[in-house]
Each structure stands twice: as structure tokens, then as C-alpha cells.
């Protein structure tokens, strides 16, 4: 027993392990194990196209997850992101396909709507002090209704890749010669880098962590906590908008009233990556790794004969497991 402890301590103090972080290392192992498992179980899985679809799934979840990581770090949450993402993609697409606006304008609308929703959530949580989960649950309902109302309850299809306006799909997946390159992954990496710097090296990032750790103490240190608390939700909204663009580029038709439940993929990803539900600590890189666990499952499960309905069950179970680990980890402190 004591020997094991010593061994695990030695492992934990290994410089490489320390640099990556214990939990993140475990998550990397889980990703590799999952990948190996699916490869062994299903020959069809061992294809380049599978990796592409794993990445396809990862884009919109990543964007949402990066955003919601900030909300989680403040000690809050944002349940409106899943429904919101679909709502913004719908409305943006409506402007493009039904009103004939340029695709670029449509994309801008998607992001702006996300930002507006972020401001609304920020006002509710930071200024009116509503509990984050109930505030964002309400805005989730509002987003759900608004999405269908603004588009008249119709499904929306953004321009196809083959059409002139379909260029925006190339942002995420570009075809060079015969091979499709997952360009989106590059954007994800860049945003991960930018947000890591933001969180750890800038004042707003520092204050967001401080608010999650002890809001009152941060306020008494002369920091405008309302402003920075709001900012976390606004950034979360903007990233949800980006997720909306990725979602529109990845999928063909977008149906109103869908999207509920996708927020849980993002939240589960963030928590798997080591962000705590109790606030104050979180890692953007960890979130990316967590998202890969989720998108690996989403892509892989159909290969072993488990369809969409099983994915809901798996999401539920993974979420319970991730939160449980977080609870244990928090209790230890």
C-alpha cells in the first residue's frame, strides 16, 4: 500500500507528467485506448475518413467547450450553448438562403447572435445574480423558441460545398487534389493557443479564474467583478457562435428545435479535461482532450453497432463519471 503510494508519488513528480498534468495524461491514454478499441472491433473504422469525421465532430464541440470552460471556471455554467448554437446557425442560414445575403454576412450574424446571448446570460448571472444553471436554462428555452420563430419553423440548409457560396465549408475541410484536409483542426489549435494565453497571461483571464475561486475577495481587491464575470459569458456566447458556423459547415440540414443535449457533450468534455464544476480551476488544453473523448465516442459507437440512441446513454454515463471524478477530486482538497 505504502509502496504503491510512493510509486504513484514518484510518477506524479516526474517532470514530463507534471508538465502535461496527471489527469490530462490519463485522458490521452483514454483517447488512445478508445481509438485502439474501435480499430480492433471494426475494420471499417480503420480509415482516413473516420479520422476526418472524428475531427468534424470535434470542431463544434470544441468551440462550445472552450466557451463553456470559461463559464465553468467562474463557478457557473452555460446550458444554453447547445440549443443556442443550432438557433444561431438556423437564423444565419435563414438570412443567407431565404433573404439572399452573402454567406460572410450570415456567418457574422451567427457570431453576433451568440455574443448577444452571451450578454444576456452575463446580465442575468453577473448583474442580477440568478443561479447560472437556471438562468441559462431559461435562455436555452428562449433560444429554442426564437430559432423556430425567426425561421418560420423550417429546416435550413446552408449552401453546399459544390456551389459558389459553399466556400465557407472549406474553412473546416479543404480538398487538395484527392485528399480532404481537416483544416478546421488548425483553427481549433490556434484558438486553443490564444485562449490558453488569454486565460493564464492576461488580466481578464486572471480575473475570471479569481472570480471562480473567490468572487467576494476579488471584488474587495478592487477588481470590477461584474464586468469580468459578464465577459466570461460573452466569450462563451461568441464561441458558441463560432460553433454554430462549424455546425453549419459540417452538417447538411439544420432542423429547428434540435441541439438540446449537445451542450452536455461540451460540458462533459470540459470536465473530463480537468475543469472543475466548483470553479477556479480549468484548462483549455484539457478541454480539447476531453472533447476528443466525446467525439471519438460519437464517431466510434456506430461502428460497433450502437446508434444515436446509444450515444445519448453513453453521453449520460460519461457525464456522470466525469462529474463524479470531479466531486471526489474537490473533496480531497
Amino acid at each position: 500500500m505504502a509502496d504503491n503510494k510512493k510509486k504513484s508519488n514518484a510518477l506524479a513528480s516526474n517532470p514530463i507528467v507534471k508538465a502535461i498534468g496527471g489527469q490530462r495524461l490519463i485522458v490521452i491514454c483514454v483517447i488512445i485506448a478508445l481509438f485502439a478499441f474501435f480499430c480492433i472491433k471494426s475494420p471499417a473504422f480503420r480509415q482516413y475518413s473516420t479520422i476526418l469525421s472524428i475531427l468534424d465532430y470535434s470542431y463544434y464541440i470544441s468551440f462550445m467547450a472552450i466557451g463553456v470552460t470559461l463559464a465553468l471556471i467562474t463557478g457557473g455554467n452555460d446550458l444554453s450553448i447547445g440549443t443556442g448554437m443550432v438557433c444561431y446557425a438556423l437564423v444565419g442560414g435563414f438570412f443567407v438562403t431565404k433573404l439572399g445575403m452573402p454567406v460572410a454576412v450570415g456567418m457574422l450574424i451567427v457570431v453576433i447572435m451568440g455574443a448577444i446571448m452571451g450578454v444576456l446570460n452575463g446580465i442575468l448571472v453577473a448583474i442580477l445574480n440568478l443561479p447560472p444553471f437556471i438562468a441559462t436554462l431559461s435562455t436555452m428555452m428562449i433560444a429554442r423558441g426564437l430559432g423556430s420563430l425567426l425561421t418560420g419553423g423550417l429546416s435550413i440548409t446552408w449552401p453546399q460545398a459544390s456551389t459558389a457560396d459553399g466556400w465557407f465549408r472549406n474553412i473546416f475541410k479543404i480538398t487538395v487534389g484527392d485528399t480532404k484536409l481537416p483544416l478546421g483542426f488548425l483553427w481549433v489549435l490556434i484558438l486553443i493557443f490564444v485562449m490558453t494565453i488569454f486565460l493564464n497571461k492576461t488580466k481578464p483571464g486572471r480575473y475570471i479564474i479569481a472570480i471562480g475561486s473567490n468572487k467576494e475577495a476579488t471584488r474587495l481587491s478592487g477588481v470590477n467583478v461584474v464586468k469580468w464575470h459578464m465577459l466570461a459569458y460573452i466569450i462563451c456566447g461568441i464561441f458558441t457562435g463560432l460553433a454554430g458556423i462549424a455546425y453549419a459547415a459540417t452538417f447538411q440540414a439544420i432542423a429547428p428545435g434540435t441541439g438540446a443535449g449537445l451542450e452536455l457533450d461540451a460540458i462533459a468534455g470540459a470536465i473530463i479535461g480537468g475543469t472543475s464544476m466548483t470553479g477556479g480551476s480549468g484548462s483549455i488544453v484539457g478541454t480539447l482532450l476531453g472533447v476528443f473523448v466525446m467525439s471519438m465516442l460519437k464517431t466510434g459507437l456506430p461502428f460497433i453497432g450502437l446508434q444515436a440512441n446509444w450515444q445519448q446513454i453513453i453521453t449520460g454515463l460519461v457525464l456522470i463519471a466525469a462529474v463524479f471524478i470531479d466531486v471526489i477530486r474537490t473533496r480531497k482538497r
Binding site: P131, G145, Q307, Q311, R331
Partner: protein
């Protein structure tokens, strides 16, 4: 104003609930007027009332359950999908496996209770945050329901069919007279819930632990048991809600139901149950359910899409929770 507040009858019902009843009546009249203004068929018909009541029964059972959970200071986002899951599993057993109807109704309640037990264990015994836990079990409920029925929707029998008697639980039609049995059952259920909450040990401990769990634990009370019980009651009531849902609408689709969570929560917070726990009112929830039901019926009657209801429900929750927080801040 004070005169009204001090009136004996008002005092007995509670001032806030009197206002809620006022809101309910005003809404009813407002929808009537709007229907006239929009040139729609009259809102003031018995059919509209029965239709609103159909909605109120299953929503009522959901909201009664959620009231217990919110009283503990928690939340349950899984009730809607659990109701659907229960209706799917029970209906599929009835249609495909030929299980007797009475047993199927029991199955529905058991399925709901099982989900309640899962939530109860996770939240009360493993100390997991209730909102994220119940969202996870919402996913489980959706998935299990749809796996069980192989993603098919399930239609329960019609009244005229061999196994149709269960629909009499909602209303009995003989000739031109309609007896709203569901209303009686709902009222009885609400009274029983009110008694549990206010007169029994379980209710007392649920309310107290919602107010200060640690102090109750240090009084030598097994708080985990009582907290879990709230979730189990909630799950059981969601199972019962399934019976009234199919009794009114017969058809259930897999993968849905989450919008009902929001409406159930809205009914509770509107009725004066505090999101921070410790304060709950079954009477308030009862009226809240009627308000949401009239709202959905009114939107239908005006020929609007259900989407308006989502938006309005969202706003209702925000306003109710904000008002609750404000009133508490003022008290302190």
C-alpha cells in the same frame, strides 16, 4: 392593499397565491379577448377547458414531483424525458409483448421510480450536483426509451379498443356529459403531496435539509435517506405522469420530453417554491400548473406555434427566480 392582505380568506389561501389565481383568471380572459381580436373561434368553450386540463394532469404530476426536489435545494431536469421513457417502455410492453394493461401502468410507475432512485443515489449519497446529474439522467432516459422501442414511436390503445379503459382515468364521456376524472385524481394527488410535505416526517426533513442540510445532519437525522426520498418521489410521480400523458394523447415519441422539465420547473417557481430550497408550496405549484396549461392552450387557440410557449416559459422562470432572490435579499 393591507386591507386585502389582512382579509381572513386571503390570509388562509396566502396572498401570493391569491395573486396567482388572479393572474390565472386574467390570462383566461386575456386569451378570450385576443381570440376575438384575432378573429379566431371562441376561447370560452368547455372543449378548450378540457384540452387545457389534459395538459394540466401530466404536467401537474411532473411539477408535484419537482416541488419535492426543489424543496431540498436541488433540481431535476430529467422528469420530462423520464415520463416519456416510462410511457415508451410500458406502451411497448403492452403492444409488442402483450403484457396486461394494469401491469403496464405499474411498469410506467416502476420505470419512473427507478430513475428517481438513480438520481437519489447520485445526488444524496455520492454528493453530485443535482442539475448536472439530472441532465445526465435525462440523456439516459431519452436513450433507454429509444433503445427499448428501437427508435419507434408507441401508440397506446384508443378508448374503444380492448385495453382502452385506462383513458377513463383522464375523463369519462357518457353521452354529452363529460366527467373530468383526471382533475379529481390530480386534486387528490396534490392533497396527498401537500400532506406529505407539511404533515409528515419526510416532508419536514425534506424542507429542513433544503434550508440547512448540515444542521439537520448534526441533529442526528439521516439526511441522505430523506434527500434521496425526494428524488424517488419525483421519479415515481413522473411515472404516474406518463399514464396521464398517454391517457390524454396516446402517442409517445422517443428522444423527446425535455421541454416539459422547463414547464414543470416554471410551475413550481411561479407557485412560490424557492430555488434555494427550504420553502415549497404544493398549492402554489397546483395553480402554477394551471397557468402554464392555460398559456399553452391560449397560444394554440390563437393559432400560434408552440415555440412562443418556450420563449414565454423561459421568461416566466427568469422573472420568478429573480423575484424570489430579490425578496430574500430584502428580508436580510
Amino acid at each position: 392593499m393591507d386591507k386585502i392582505k389582512n382579509n381572513a380568506l386571503v390570509k388562509k389561501i396566502g396572498f401570493n397565491r391569491v395573486i396567482l389565481i388572479g393572474v390565472l383568471i386574467l390570462m383566461y380572459l386575456l386569451f378570450g379577448a385576443l381570440c376575438v381580436a384575432l378573429g379566431r373561434a371562441s376561447f370560452f368553450t368547455m372543449n378548450r377547458i378540457y384540452s387545457a386540463l389534459n395538459y394540466a394532469y401530466f404536467l401537474g404530476f411532473l411539477a408535484l414531483g419537482v416541488t419535492f426536489v426543489i424543496a431540498t435545494g436541488g433540481i431535476d431536469f430529467s422528469v420530462g424525458p423520464v415520463m416519456f421513457c416510462a410511457a415508451l417502455i410500458a406502451g411497448y410492453s403492452l403492444n409488442t409483448h402483450g403484457v396486461p394493461l394494469a401491469a403496464c401502468l405499474l411498469i410506467a410507475i416502476v420505470v419512473g421510480t427507478v430513475f428517481g432512485i438513480i438520481n437519489g443515489i447520485l445526488v444524496a449519497y455520492l454528493d453530485m450536483p443535482s442539475f448536472i446529474t439530472s441532465m445526465a439522467s435525462m440523456m439516459l432516459a431519452k436513450g433507454v426509451g429509444s433503445v427499448f422501442t428501437k427508435t419507434q414511436s408507441v401508440s397506446w390503445p384508443q378508448l374503444a379498443d380492448a385495453n382502452g379503459w385506462y383513458r377513463n382515468l383522464v375523463k369519462i364521456t357518457s353521452g354529452t356529459t363529460i366527467i373530468p376524472t383526471g382533475l379529481f385524481i390530480f386534486i387528490v394527488a396534490a392533497i396527498i403531496c401537500a400532506i406529505i410535505l407539511n404533515k409528515t416526517k419526510a416532508g419536514r426533513y425534506i424542507l429542513c435539509l433544503g434550508s440547512n442540510k448540515e444542521a439537520v445532519r448534526l441533529s442526528g437525522v439521516d439526511v441522505r435517506k430523506w434527500e434521496a426520498l425526494a428524488y424517488i418521489l419525483c421519479g415515481m410521480l413522473a411515472g404516474m405522469a406518463a399514464i396521464f400523458y398517454v391517457g390524454a394523447y396516446t402517442t409517445v415519441q422517443p428522444g423527446l420530453g425535455d421541454t416539459f422539465n422547463n414547464e414543470a420547473i416554471a410551475s413550481c417557481v411561479m407557485g412560490g417554491t424557492s430555488m434555494s430550497g427550504g420553502i415549497a408550496s404544493i398549492g402554489g405549484t397546483f395553480i402554477g400548473v394551471l397557468i402554464i396549461s392555460i398559456l399553452q392552450e391560449g397560444i394554440l387557440a390563437m393559432g400560434f406555434q408552440k415555440d412562443y410557449q418556450y420563449v414565454i416559459t423561459g421568461i416566466i422562470v427568469l422573472v420568478a427566480v429573480w423575484a424570489d432572490i430579490r425578496s430574500r435579499q430584502r428580508r436580510n
